[in-house]
Each structure stands twice: as C-alpha cells, then as structure tokens.
Symmetry: C2
C-alpha cells in the first residue's frame, strides 16, 4: 500500500461514522456520496476505493451503527433499574431530537424495508438486538421473556417514530410520556 495502512483504516472508519450519522439524520436518499466524503474531509473520488457502491455503504453503515448500539446496550446495568433508565433515555426528548446519534431502527426502518441488501444487514442487527435485550435484563414472566422484550421494543420504536413525525411538541411529549409510563 502506498498510504499508511493505519490512516487508511481510520479514514474508512470515519466514512462509516459520518455515513451512519447522516443516513440516520436525513435518510438514505437524502444524503449523497459526495456529501459523506466531504464530511470526512475527503473528496468524492476515493469513495470507490473504500466501498463497492452506495448500497454497500448503506449495509456497512447499518452494521457499524449496530455494533455501537449493542456495545452501549451491554454497558447498561443488567437490572430492572438499568432497563428503566435505558427505556427512559430511549423515550426522551433528547433522543427524539438527535436521530443522528440515536436508534437506527427508529431512524431508518421504513427505508430499510425497500433495500434488499440493507435489509439483510438489518435483519442480523435486529436478531442480535432482540437476543441481547432479552438476555441482558431480568424479566418477571420468565416463561415469556422474549415475547415481553419484543413487545417492549415495538412500543419503544413505534412511539419514537410517531413522536418524531409530529410537528407539535405537546403531542410528541404526550406519546413519549404515555409509553414510558407503562414501560419504565
């Protein structure tokens, strides 16, 4: 290689960082390859030295965000209180207003369903996420822990998506508060 391998690998990671942030903020179609490269301090040219296509970057971006999401989840105390805090943060106004740093399911799930390559990458994420969520926290109804986890996740994702889609802070807050009140 002609450029320092370490720096190249770091640039690769920066592209993934910026891509997964920008995609979550504006959607796949709302961000161009050139914009992502510019955000990492490069020009649009060397993109194809790093990724085969924009769709490949989307799939890799999902995997990248997934790893961070799972790391964060595993760092939460595996107790009832830990779960309550996790849910409360998930359903907070801060999270609602920072999609670029937040849950990739809530930010991109609708668009993911239309991109086959990305869909495969996301499926792996969701499987791991459900498994981790189920095993990491205690569940009163032990015989149906996984079912309870799935229901909790569905509520969280749905509530966050609806709260973000609404132009009225009162309604958005109400949705987050009501769902939080029965999950926290």
């Amino acid at each position: 290689m002609r450029y320092p391998a370490a720096e190249t690998a770091e640039k690769h990671q920066r592209i993934l960082d910026e891509a997964s942030r920008l995609f979550r903020e504006r959607g796949f179609a709302g961000v161009s390859v050139g914009e992502i490269m510019k955000a990492t301090g490069l020009t649009h040219g060397p993109f194809y030295n790093h990724f085969a296509s924009k769709q490949a970057l989307m799939a890799e971006g999902i995997r990248h965000a997934s790893e961070k999401t799972l790391t964060d989840l595993r760092a939460v105390p595996g107790t009832g209180e830990g779960r309550s805090a996790y849910v409360a943060r998930y359903l907070s106004a801060d999270h609602r207003d920072a999609p670029g740093q937040g849950c990739l399911m809530a930010a991109l799930a609708c668009e993911i369903s239309r991109e086959p390559e990305v869909k495969r990458s996301f499926t792996l994420h969701l499987k791991t996420y459900i498994d981790t969520f189920t095993r990491h926290f205690p569940w009163p109804r032990k015989q149906d822990a996984r079912g309870d986890a799935i229901r909790m996740l569905s509520s969280m994702v749905g509530a966050l998506i609806l709260a973000r889609a609404v132009d009225d802070d009162v309604l958005a807050d109400e949705i987050l508060r009501e769902v939080k009140s029965k999950l926290g």
Copy 2:
C-alpha cells in the same frame, strides 16, 4: 374551464390515489412526479396544473390517505371484538406485504419527520386518528383510555415497521404474533 370539470376533478383524485399508493410502497424519494402521472394515464406535463410542487402533493397525499384510513376505522364496529379484529388485521402478514394499501404511519413516518410541509399534514392526521381510536372503542380503564390508545398504536406501528424491515419471515411473523397476542 375548457375540459369538463368533472373529469378534471376525477383526474385530480386519481393522481392522489396513485401518489398515496406509490409513496407508501416506495417512499417519497423513490417515486418521481413523472411516474405518478404515468400511473394515472397522463404525461408529466400537466402535473403543475394540479399541484404546486412535489412537496405539495406529498402533503395532499397524506391528507388523502388519512381520510380513507379514518373512514375505514369508523366503519369498524365500536366494540371490543371490533377492536380485536382491527388489530389482528393491522398485524397480519397481508398488511405487512401490502404497504401501498396500508397504514401510512407505518409506511412513511420516518420520512415524514424530515419534510416540514408534510409533517404539518401528518400531525393533523395523527391527532384525529388518536382521538377517533380513543372514542370509537370501549376501554376498560376509562380514566386512561387515551393513554391506552396511544400505547396500543405505538405497539402496532412499531411492530409492523420492524416486521417489514426484516428479511426473515420467521422473525417477522414472531414479532407480529407476539405483539398481537397481548393486544388482540
């Protein structure tokens, strides 16, 4: 007017029909104005005789789909059984596989949050939908009927979105089934 007013109005409705279907199937960015016009049997030219811009069509398309959604909801029997049937249909594989005819929240909410004009239109829909949903069905916990309705909606929307984003029918079915089992 030079063309029969009735036919023109009917074409206007057809544009809205096709637009709201195609948008739900492929997302706002995934459908072009020309494609929508072609789907109605017209060419791309007269689009701007009917709508001020693509964004205006998106907002109108939301309103159009909202009216149909609310009409359908009000036609369901206002009983516990009616609600169960409604939820079961919402969380069915048929609904999952037919986004073009289905819930506009599940199909477009993620993208709506990024389009201010559309967001305003959607806010009106969600307010009306929550109100209708709350008032139309009986709720055991009368003092918190609205909260229960919001929680139920969040679960339904989240589950459907996740089920659609997944490339694995077993997992998708599991999500729908688990959420249905505690709501139906």
